[in-house]
């Protein structure tokens, strides 16, 4: 039943995104601009990491794409709550976990699709990285999306108005992006900044993904990255499902 229901919800929202192909492509535009106008600036800079500047930049951009996209996913459910769609589904016997999973798996598909486009563009611009590393990177993007989109939906069901939701999400996303070293490695900065960034979970994902892009699949970074990604996903999906079960208070 869970599988049936998840597939059903997934299909509904996948068709929704296909109706707005424009938004789908527009989503890759921002990271693509970074790639075009920011990437070349880094080519000759000493980044203190192994590998080319592209192997440092691309993982960060992919996670940034997932971070922003997924955190704002909740906007959709605010619209749907207003239309009564969420309650209409919640009075049917449909699995509450499926109501969440169908949506976040749709989001993960969209971001992995966008990530593939971005990596293809990066390859053209000069990125060279092992295929296995690139695939591991997509897995990280998918887990990050599932986890953040779950939290975003949960938050959106709680606050209910875009006026409250927008500022809250911005307050979370900007510092997380700056503090996790998505743009430039944190090891370049002063020690206090490096220490501080270890309190931001995304830091571990970026480090792991950069290791994957340079072929270090068994590093300590990779271990921490996997643990953080899986832990975050389990926690967020649990929280999200709880909200779909009890929402309305």
């Amino acid at each position: 039943m869970l599988l049936h229901d998840t597939a059903l919800i997934y299909g509904r929202y996948a068709r929704q995104i296909l109706r707005s192909r424009f938004a789908l492509l527009f989503g890759v535009l921002m990271p693509l601009l970074y790639l075009l106008f920011f990437g070349p600036l880094l080519t000759d800079l000493p980044l203190g990491e192994e590998g080319s500047s592209w192997q440092v930049l691309v993982p960060g951009l992919l996670l940034q794409l997932g971070l922003f996209g997924a955190l704002f996913a909740g906007f959709m459910i605010i619209v749907e709550t207003g239309q009564g769609v969420v309650e209409r589904m919640r009075v049917t016997p449909v699995s509450r976990l499926a109501l969440l999973l169908g949506r976040v798996l749709r989001d993960a598909t969209v971001f992995v699709f966008q990530a593939v486009l971005l990596v293809l563009a990066a390859l053209v611009m000069g990125l060279r990285a092992p295929l296995a590393g690139i695939l591991i990177g997509f897995a990280f993007v998918a887990l990050l999306t599932v986890s953040l989109a779950s939290l975003s939906y949960a938050l959106a069901m709680k606050v209910r108005s875009p006026q409250e939701f927008g500022p809250l999400v911005n307050a979370v996303s900007m510092p997380s992006m700056l503090l996790s070293g998505l743009m430039l490695p944190m090891s370049l900065g002063p020690a206090w900044l490096d220490v501080l960034s270890h309190f931001v979970p995304f830091r571990y994902l970026v480090d792991a993904m950069r290791d994957a892009y340079t072929g270090h699949y068994t590093s300590v970074h990779m271990l921490y990255g996997v643990l953080v990604a899986v832990g975050m996903t389990a926690l967020s999906v649990t929280v999200g499902t709880r909200v779909f079960r009890t929402a309305g208070a």
Binding site: H4, Q16, Q83, G84, R88, V91, P93
Partner: protein, 260 residues
């Protein structure tokens, strides 16, 4: 036989500005096949009561059964027995009528073929057949309401909850909707639990009225009995009766069409 019965059903919301006692204790029973008008001024707790009875919201006090299933212990049983149309409706404007109906059938675990067949049946029954391939945003108010009701009837529920089903409809569509509600009851024996603040509607459509005010039942009975008891005579208007019960009118005068 009582198909719905509640005892002290209550719900308190915790908000930033303190707690709100939306429903303070509702006791009522509804017989099978009855059309019950749940009447009360804005903020009386009608929607909150409906959301509890349809398992959308956990009660903070009291108990209730719907079709023999306890709200808290057997929410799945309650969901099988009831259909619910929220005041806002529940369809996505960008999606087609057929797709919404089929998806709804699948949410009730019908097979794909059966869900498609059920969508056709419901469209025929609710006069939506010519509209199946339209986007729901392209429907008129009355057509939208019929679609919302079709969605709620997918699994042939024993009880249909309608929250202010005619608010915002033109007089012709309101009359159609009344006919539809009567037909559902007459042909399928469906129990209909509807909220409204249109007094004429409550008067014309309901077998029995339950009037709520500030989260409790203020009065109940047939429209005639209520008029006699609170309005002073069977010829009293329901408007005066309502005023006598709650000390307030049911709705701002401009939104309440009075003539039947």
């Amino acid at each position: 036989m009582a198909i719905i019965s509640t005892a002290g059903l209550a719900r308190t919301f915790q908000t930033k500005h303190g707690s709100v006692e939306a429903v303070r204790g509702i006791d009522l029973t509804v017989r099978q096949g009855e059309i019950l008008g749940f009447l009360g001024p804005n903020g009386a707790g009608k929607t909150t009561t409906l959301r509890m009875l349809t398992t959308l919201l956990k009660p903070t006090g009291g108990a209730a059964t719907v079709a023999g299933c306890d709200l808290v212990r057997d929410p799945a049983g309650v969901r099988r027995a009831c259909g619910y149309v929220a005041q806002s409706g529940g369809v996505d404007g960008q999606i087609g009528v057929r797709e919404e109906l089929v998806t709804q059938g699948r949410l009730y675990r019908l097979t794909k073929a059966r869900a498609q067949q059920r969508a056709e049946e419901l469209a025929a029954e609710l006069d939506l057949t010519g509209l199946l391939d339209r986007r729901t945003a392209a429907l008129s108010g009355g057509q939208r309401r019929r679609l919302d009701i079709a969605m709620a009837l997918t699994h042939r529920p024993q009880v249909l909850f309608l929250d202010e089903p005619t608010t915002g409809l033109d007089p012709g569509s309101r009359a159609d909707l009344w006919a539809l509600v009567r037909r559902l009851r007459d042909e399928h024996g469906t129990t209909v639990f509807l909220t409204t603040h249109y007094l004429d509607e409550a008067d014309a459509l309901s077998d029995r009225l339950v009037i709520v005010d500030r989260g409790v039942v203020a009065a109940e009975g047939t429209p005639t009995a209520l008029k006699l008891k609170y309005g002073g005579s069977v010829d009293a208007t329901l408007q005066d009766t309502f005023l006598a019960i709650t000390g307030r009118s049911a709705a701002p005068a401009d939104t309440a069409p009075v003539a039947v």
